[in-house]
Subunit: 526 residues, 2 copies
């Protein structure tokens, strides 16, 4: 959080250039041993293809949001090209900016968003809502064929804390607020949202809602979709205002239809969330487990006892070993096995009581407490991984992540299926790491990190591996994504997960709210 920089991200790298990671010598040595060093500097392009938008359309947009907020210059359009999946980065690293928008339009209010959508409908412009630009599933790579142009609807000017209700403990936030900005505004009120995904420094409130994000403190604060009690959405058919009450029986919960709608049903212009008091204390510690299974069973026991810390995550043997190979980052006290991180955020007395209860359970199940050093190391580096990916791509190591979730009975089967699919497709020398970072009474997520030596053309290499892993998830009945959303990358698998008829429901809602199909075409809807 301390490193937060307001800069915009380049299409071929994560985050602020100032915070980019130079590979430590020790790490470089390990990588050389594992994969060999194959310097592959990025060769990004300065300019995207020329904007194809007709001048009268630009004028119409300018009339709504003001001339200075309709931008067509190359640099701005370059910075709004795609998201941050490894395929997105690989394309941008090779100079491919073909998905750049024709214009970037920056409305400042719900009404301006609605007016921009009306223009887009009238002229059949494709509109890609843009928050933090952190999608890792092709959520910002809309189809442009058949449209008069493609506009990036940048929500960067919508950054207000609209309302705070200290009695109900809710806050209404505008969609363009990045994680640290939202937390900073709430902190002035003594409040926190408690939503810390790895993308926290850049991702936005609107994006969290549109993608059903889940943060690293989900054990304590819940998924983002569980925090939302109200939504305001601008659609081509008009306004939706949802959220009469915390929960109700007034038919289907339409909030849960707009959550996860990925900009394909409408543009979220305000999100009312449940908030909590700013924690007085944050304590993180490490635990060692003899095996991934033993650690996972312990997580299950905690979840099924309704005894969850705020943070609960567990690395498998491989991920633990890799982390231990970076002694500067992880503390280094542990030796082998599997590392678990537990975290407690709240009042000191409540933290102490919860920690004592959790400790008793974990010790009873065979865990070994490693103290706070590994926990602090994790907390210090919790948003760093995307930077490391860039550094590895620079030396010819392909790195990507993917995640899924299933019920507890199916955890090991899913783990083995995905790991095997990745190793088989990518071949010898491929490293597959895994952790569990979100647990429920009935199941958990699995988050995989894959590293392999880049082929001559790494894009088809990765797409084949991703397809194999996705097929494996479907084959064992798991979800295609626990918290990264569908985008365009997961779309081919969605019908397998929700069935033909589930896809039909999504198309019906899409046709109702966006009858001419201007919103994020090619994303989400099967």
């Amino acid at each position: 959080m301390t490193r937060f920089v307001q800069s915009e991200m380049h299409p071929h790298r994560w985050g602020s250039p100032d915070a980019a990671t130079v590979l430590p010598e020790a790490a470089r040595g390990l990588i050389e041993m594992a994969f060999g060093i194959d310097e592959r500097p990025a060769t990004p392009a300065d300019a995207p293809p020329a904007s194809a938008l007709a001048p009268e359309l630009l004028d119409a947009l300018r009339a709504v949001v003001g001339g200075e907020h309709v931008l067509v210059d190359d640099e701005v359009r370059r910075l709004r090209t795609r998201g941050k999946s490894t395929p997105d980065l690989l394309r941008a690293r090779s100079g491919d900016l073909s998905d750049a928008p024709d214009a970037v339009c920056r409305p400042s209010t719900h009404e301006e968003v609605a007016a921009v959508l009306a223009i887009a409908v009238e002229h059949h412009l494709a509109v890609v809502p843009f928050g933090g630009g952190t999608s890792v599933t092709g959520g910002l790579v809309a189809r442009r064929e058949g449209y008069a142009g493609l506009v990036s609807l940048d929500l960067v000017r919508m950054k207000q804390l609209l309302a705070v209700d200290h009695v109900s403990m809710t806050a209404t936030l505008e969609p363009g607020l990045r994680g640290p900005e939202a937390e900073s505004l709430l902190a002035q009120e003594g409040l926190t949202l408690g939503h810390y995904p790895q993308s926290f420094e850049y991702a936005t409130i609107g994006g969290f809602a549109a993608t059903r994000s889940s943060g690293q403190s989900s054990a304590g604060y819940g998924r983002f979709d569980a925090m939302v009690v109200g939504l305001r959405v601008a659609t081509p058919r008009g306004e939706l205002v949802l959220g009469s009450s915390p929960a109700n029986a007034a038919g289907p919960d339409l909030r849960q239809v707009l959550l996860g709608s990925e900009g394909a049903f409408g543009v979220i212009t305000a999100v009312t969330v449940r908030v909590r008091p700013l924690p007085a204390e944050k304590v993180y510690e490490g635990w060692s487990w003899p095996s991934f299974e033993a650690g996972a069973d312990a997580m299950r026991t905690l979840a099924q006892s309704q005894l969850l810390p705020t943070v609960l995550r567990l690395s498998d043997e491989s991920e633990t070993a890799i982390n231990l190979a970076k002694p500067d980052e992880i503390g280094g006290e542990a030796a082998g096995g599997c590392m678990m991180i537990t975290g407690y955020e709240g009042e000191p007395a409540a933290n102490a009581a919860k920690r004592a209860a959790v400790t008793a359970v974990l010790e009873g199940l065979g865990g070994t407490c490693l103290g706070e050093a590994p926990g602090q190391a994790w907390a210090h580096g919790r948003f760093n991984a995307p930077y490391l990916r860039d550094s590895l791509l620079d030396v010819g190591v392909l790195v990507e992540t993917m995640e899924t979730a299933t019920f507890w009975f199916n955890r090991d089967r899913l783990y083995t299926a995905v790991k095997t699919a990745l190793e088989t497709t990518l071949g010898e020398g491929t490293l597959v790491l895994c952790h569990i970072s979100h647990v429920y009474e009935t199941g958990c997520s699995l988050y995989f990190t894959v590293a392999t030596k880049e082929a001559a053309d790494p894009l088809p290499q990765w797409l084949a591996a991703k397809a194999a892993a996705s097929d494996a998830m479907m084959a064992v009945g798991a979800t295609i994504t626990h918290h990264h959303a569908v985008g365009s990358d997961h779309r081919p698998w969605l019908t397998q997960e929700i069935g033909e008829l589930g896809g039909s429901i999504l198309r019906a809602v899409k046709a109702d709210l966006d009858p001419t199909g201007i919103l994020n075409p090619g994303v989400l809807i099967p």
Copy 2:
């Protein structure tokens, strides 16, 4: 639970005739003082209007489910007429069985349900899914004009526990299982669902899901919609199987579209729910608060501290006084103020720890513990109120309940608005009682009981009051229903709650899944 009787309910009374309440003399005296006794015995009809279903349609249905499971005799059709709202009872008490189905059809499998729907589509038959028959919002009063007939799709034969997963702690239940039947099957596995609405003895698993039910132990076990991890649904367009994982980001959560769909989108044929270990101990106790506001603030503090007992409910001053006037039922130790019930269900050690923590908070906020007697009295009578309503209707006292929910900041405003609307519409001598029985971090439910002297024609009398109260809920931005669903009674207000566009989404999903509109016509969809 001890009283559970398998009998079917008559259209003009709640529950088993064997369990009907005879008004105790003390209560009769109180009622005489408050309203006067005006004996109005029910004059129910033996036979509904003749079945209008063509013989070839009956044959088609018989070919699917077997001859003995397509019933057209008067008695069976009489017992499937409407639900249990006071308007439903008033109509049946006066001999009006005009809403009786033309036939009762009892499929035993998902495939049979699907086949019945196919026949209904082919012949344009209206289909009303029937579980426990406990709807209090006109959910079983479908429109029949324009249809070849109206079939009650009785799920009474679908009562299996299909699967139990002790690792993931889930169970898959068929929709026709009544509350006690489901709990009994789960208890044999050492498990519980923990869902105890007032209708528990009769209502079914399918109905809980279709109406987003919430039980009296919702503070500990959650709402029914929060327990559901998977659904199988038969629709006119085919099968839906949802639930790849406890939670995910694979687009909108379609489970939350089918939950609360009230038989208008499809027939739920299996529900996979999160289950918990059968509690070793159940402890209930009473607390007294100087005011409704003080007690409600204490509930809010507990909810916002994530320190909830399993049961948490609070009666306002009027409801407390009425309960205290029945010393045989409530223990009688309290004197005035507002009665709160707290309950702990689980392992004794965990119960004791939670109870100690809750006790400390409640004492700190000014509550007075009354010991276990009031709690036991509440637990003993928790499913009785619907019987009492019948006894009161017998003596000319109109009784009905209604419920809503809002955020905490709005609680008192909602309370006053609804109470005033009811008192104003129904006039002097009307008694309005209220309790809070479901709490969230951000808000709570309000459940009202109204008693007034019956007018010569009580139906329009009540409908006017209901409309005024519903208008009041909308005027303050609350929900039209926290846990009773929309049915046909709340439908006129749904658009105010979810907006024109929200209604449009529901119509779009309806048109997609049930294009010819055979499912529960007139229910839910605005």
